[in-house]
Symmetry: C2
Subunit: 358 residues, 2 copies
């Protein structure tokens, strides 16, 4: 069977040496060997997050860490500003509502990034906003948000800035400490090159201070338990051992390349994909395109679902649009373990399929 190329924005392909590392005999998590691995992962994650704060590791999908960002910082009846420019902004709002947090929704057109000035105005007119929820890369529209400018705005207020960096981290730059981000949420299966199953969160001092006052109920996602256990390089509950072992190797790769070089390589991949798509006459969908994933508009005559199906038959899997974008865009991931040759092969298949369908 021919090689299958996976170009979806999560999961992304896992490098074979990481797969092999995870396939070694399992070890116990309360051993010196494992605790050293876990300590090294925490240090490695700090470099990717660009923070001096601890990075807490949950065994869950990214949504679990999104929930952790809400339940550890807020209390019932608190007010949150949630930017909704796609599926994942919507999810933050749903989590807030599930926990009785009042949501001020800032709905922006899909494919656009929020205007930091609009966030400033909302904070100015709603002094009771405790937290602002945004994405680094809104995966559903392949749009990167200007976190640096939003951070400057939020830092001037008592509110915390929570950033869903699940699909962007490692591809789109995020300087957590320098940009005044108070909570960064991440997942394992995108820019970090390992399978899904781990989620991460780091809190600034401002967020930890808010955590002291938070009364929302929590147990499995109680950040304080994880922070306390981390003092001994431990985890309060049995972790997904094999994934943490894979992550250690992935972080070693990223550090060997250098975090900024890793990000720069994503930028080059993104530019390569966009140039190739432009040659095919495909327009980029987002007004603020991410370096993790590119969404391109399809000609009105082409059925996106059929296009993706045909590409799969040819060995390449892209992602469809979601909700109203279903069938209208194609999302091409170029992050994590996706290499240049994978992209070249995938774009060839995209072009030939488009030509057949036109």
């Amino acid at each position: 069977m021919a090689k299958q190329y996976l170009l979806t924005p999560g999961p992304t392909p896992v490098p074979v040496d990481i797969q092999a590392e995870m396939a070694k005999p399992i070890i116990h998590h309360r051993t010196k060997q494992y605790l050293e691995i876990f300590a090294s992962v925490n240090e490695g994650m700090k470099k990717v997050f660009k923070t001096t704060q601890d990075v807490l590791t949950f065994t869950s999908s990214g949504t679990g860490a999104m929930e952790a960002s809400v339940v550890n910082t807020l209390s019932k009846g608190d007010t949150a500003l949630v930017v909704r420019g796609g599926k994942f902004g919507e999810r933050f709002a749903e989590i807030c509502k599930a926990y009785g947090v009042n949501v001020i929704a800032m709905d922006i057109p899909w494919g656009t990034a929020p205007d930091p000035k609009a966030i400033a105005q909302s904070l100015e007119s709603n002094k009771d906003i405790k937290a602002v929820f945004v994405s680094l890369c809104e995966t559903s529209t392949a749009t990167v948000y200007d976190i640096k400018s939003i951070g400057e705005v939020v830092a001037k207020t008592p509110a915390i800035l929570v950033v869903d960096a699940i699909s962007g981290l490692g591809a789109d730059d995020l300087k957590m400490d320098e940009w005044h981000v108070d909570a960064t949420v991440c997942g394992s299966q995108k820019g970090l090159m390992i399978p899904p199953g781990l989620a991460f969160i780091a809190f600034s001092k401002k967020a930890w201070d808010l955590a002291e006052k938070s009364t929302l109920p929590k147990f499995y996602f109680n950040a304080k338990k994880y922070k306390k256990a981390l003092e001994k390089s431990d985890c309060p509950f049995t972790p997904a051992i094999t994934l943490v072992i894979g992550l250690k190797m992935a972080l070693a790769k990223i550090q060997e390349e250098g975090v900024d070089n890793y990000i720069a390589r994503h930028r080059k991949n993104a530019e390569f994909v966009r140039a190739a798509c432009a040659k095919m006459g495909l327009e980029v969908y987002s007004k603020s395109p991410s370096f993790a994933v590119t969404a391109v508009k399809l000609p009105a005559t082409v059925d996106g679902g059929a296009l993706i199906k045909t590409c799969v038959e040819k060995g390449v899997r892209f992602a469809d649009g979601q909700d109203t974008l279903k069938g209208k865009i194609v999302r091409i991931a170029h992050m994590g373990g996706i290499g240049r040759a994978d992209l070249e092969e995938a774009l060839k298949v995209l072009e030939s399929t488009l030509n057949e369908m036109k």
Copy 2:
């Protein structure tokens, strides 16, 4: 380096063919291929749970599914009866308290199983008990509870019976439907032969009815979302794909052997370990020993911590006691991928080490 034998009650060794299966190129979770795998896992899990109900799969450690059993069935101010005979009974109580559920604790001596009559009496004198929380195997003391008799008692009341079968399932028999269990909680890294990272829950109709009235906040562990997604063999959030793929193979192995033969083999392993320990003069700690793991008392002159350390140096890892049992017992797991030859080797090492230390 010599082979390391892992005889801890989670994680347990992962068979090499399952490791290899999980090391194959990762696939996307919204594909026909994956949805078929996930549907097959649900069917296989029903057979292990001995239920006709759906088995929901969370990406989390077992504690996540314990939390799910609380937040999906109860409301703030509800009363729960929690049997505390070890670390994991205590955890149920902590989760209830974190969510504002009143706990009536039934504290029993460690190493004993609860008396079903005492549970009946408690239910009789506290008519507002909404749920009874017990373990199948309380791992910290290697004690199996009489779920069948407890089920008969609870079934006569409006309360639901929640069973933590995280470490027992597959080793200690549990007939969910026949024994009137309303919520069964399980984890992946014990009797199911795969690494940690997945947790499971199945609800009876009685529990689903209670779920309709439950007002505790939840999002990631919202069982209704998982049940709805399962109608299309899907999962609401990105699952730990590689672990689910491993689980499919593990379940195929269990089905090939037959669930009851699999359980019977655990019983034989347990009897083998106990007979060997008796020959060494080691008394079984529990008054109601489990078939998943055996705890034996150490002579007062032997430091358990030192014994375990020496065994590790000889290539065999047992588990120490927890809390007040630390250093006083040794726990020998004999479940999942632990084979007879592993046990023989481990017991030889235990005996030689004991003789050196006496």
